[in-house]
């Protein structure tokens, strides 16, 4: 009994303190982990970021909880990817009566048409094109600029901080972009093609000239048919594709089967739609891109 009372007292003492802290920071909600990481980099200490879809979560099929609705209602700024990636966010904002400013991070990105290579109708429930724009670092820089402008609009007092943080982060992204290009240059041109589970690397493909082929449509919801798998196998054999990659959000067993059957190399894990937690390979956006390009080079060179 004594201990329980002590905990209660401690909680009462702490609660106002944390409330004060929370008030000082600008409450920002990001729709998923990659956006949250960017907001943290731009906002620094002035913002308290919460990601609705956590690390390793799949934002395609996410269903919000009542706790999320409360978080959204309390937020001053909501940062989303846009391009139809988070089909659920509009309803969530409406139902929680949120008055927050919505920053669409992908504003200004030239949307890429979905490649319907395997005859799938893509299951995002939208026709806006491929939403995975962050896979190109050039687009990520647009994201950062949008986030910076949005935060300044919501919190003009922090303009200097946001400008400085964003400039520093954009510098890092430039370096990252160069690193990716150098790595791709080292891969022999005829080996620049891989198979991935989830068709999320279209922007990476366009920006850096690697060919990504997916056995499934773009949504992780759809189930591959025997014909799709057979076509992929024939394609790997015919085009002599050197490597097959897994991702952190799709069924890995199908790819293992394809790899076994074709002799293509299982190249490790590429991260597409979600960061990992602290202990994983890709806790931040920069780590994610760096991990992907390192893994790709290792399998293809």
């Amino acid at each position: 009994m004594l201990t329980r009372r002590m905990i209660l007292i401690a909680a009462m003492l702490l609660a106002p303190a944390s409330a004060v802290l929370a008030q000082e920071k600008l409450p920002v909600v990001a729709s998923f982990s990659i956006i949250a990481d960017m907001v943290e980099n731009v906002g620094g200490d002035r913002v308290a970021v919460r990601s609705l879809v956590g690390p390793n979560g799949d934002a395609h099929v996410y269903s919000p909880s009542p706790a999320d609705a409360k978080v959204v209602a309390d937020a001053k700024v909501i940062v989303t990817n846009g391009l139809g990636f988070e089909g659920w966010i509009g309803r969530l904002m409406k139902s929680s009566k949120s008055k927050a400013v919505n920053i669409v991070a992908s504003k200004g990105v030239k949307p890429r048409k979905m490649a319907g290579a395997h005859g799938h109708s893509h299951g995002h429930g939208h026709d806006d094109g491929d939403p995975h724009a962050w896979q190109s670092v050039a687009n990520a820089k647009l994201y950062v600029a949008n986030i910076r402008d949005g935060l300044i609009a919501a919190d003009p007092a922090g303009k200097a901080v946001y400008d400085a943080n964003a400039a520093a982060y954009l510098g890092k992204l430039d370096a990252l972009d160069r690193q990716v290009r150098e790595a791709v240059d080292k891969i022999p041109a005829e080996r620049r093609k891989v198979i991935v589970t989830h068709d999320a690397f279209g922007y990476f493909e366009d920006a850096y000239g690697l060919d990504f082929i997916a056995p499934q449509g773009v949504s992780t919801n759809s189930e591959a048919s025997a014909r799709d798998v057979a076509r992929i196998i024939q394609q790997i054999k015919k085009q002599k594709i050197p490597a097959v990659f897994l991702e952190n959000i799709s069924d890995p067993r199908l790819l293992k089967r394809i790899a076994d059957e074709t002799g293509a190399k299982l190249g490790g894990t590429l991260y597409s739609d979600a960061l990992t937690d602290e202990k994983g390979d890709a806790p931040t956006y920069i780590d994610l891109i760096r991990h992907n390009i390192t893994t790709l080079s290792a399998a293809l060179i």
Binding site: D58, V61, V229, A230, D251, R257
Partner: protein, 289 residues
Amino acid sequence: MLYDLFLNPFIEFDFMRRALVGVFVLALGAGPIGVFLMLRRMSLVGDAMAHAVLPGAAIGFLISGLNIFAMTAGGLIAGFVVALMAGLVSRATQLKEDASLAVFFLISLAVGVTIISMRGTNIDLLHFLFGSVLALDDQTLLLIAVNTTVTLIGLALIYRPLVLECVDPLYLRSVSHAGGPAHLIFLALLVVNLVSGFHALGTLLAVGIMMVPAAIGRFWARDITTMIMVSATAGAISGYAGLLLSFHTSAPAGPAVILVAGILYAISLLFGRVGGLLRQLFPARHLEA
């Protein structure tokens, strides 16, 4: 032409051969289980048990991550517990088996969903646990083969009390005490088959390849032995034709198998020798004195 249509997919592609072996072996075990479920009016129990497996798989996932064996073991244990509890309650009290099973599987499902969402990841656990028929590896095939072997041996051992209990439970009770244990063993075998079915084919297909062929068997045979043989054969044919359907039309493989089974069911419903609709409309002439 015929060769391309019916044989070549299996000759050219290893994964098609594996899928075929998988569905054949599965049909062999699930056929008889389905027939007994149907005769005992427990046709929907398979579906209920499918949900009951969830918390065990979730706990296995919490303990050792996405490890197939830990999750299978967890699923088996959870399924056994629910099946045994439901069976015991219905035998010990006046609550009917379907009611007690409904209670236990719903509790089980709720526990499973809670565990998964407390973990905080929204990766669809079932998607990982219950793979695709197109992705059967050696381990999964072996698991299915072992499960089917266990099922067939188990059914052979309890065949007599099981059949008796289907047709005349009161008589069985008056001459033997084997009814209770046989029933529990049967439920355990059901769970074994569901789990191996999930691994290979997903929730939908595991239950589907059990019940639809059994219903087909009912239209072609009067005695249990023939019914079981028709059921297992119908399951195997559906598997083969479904895989071909998926190969040629790019329908997803699991549903394709069940669709074919559904078509076979419709044909049986119309033309079945035992109680088929046409047979009822135009009965064969009786030998009348």
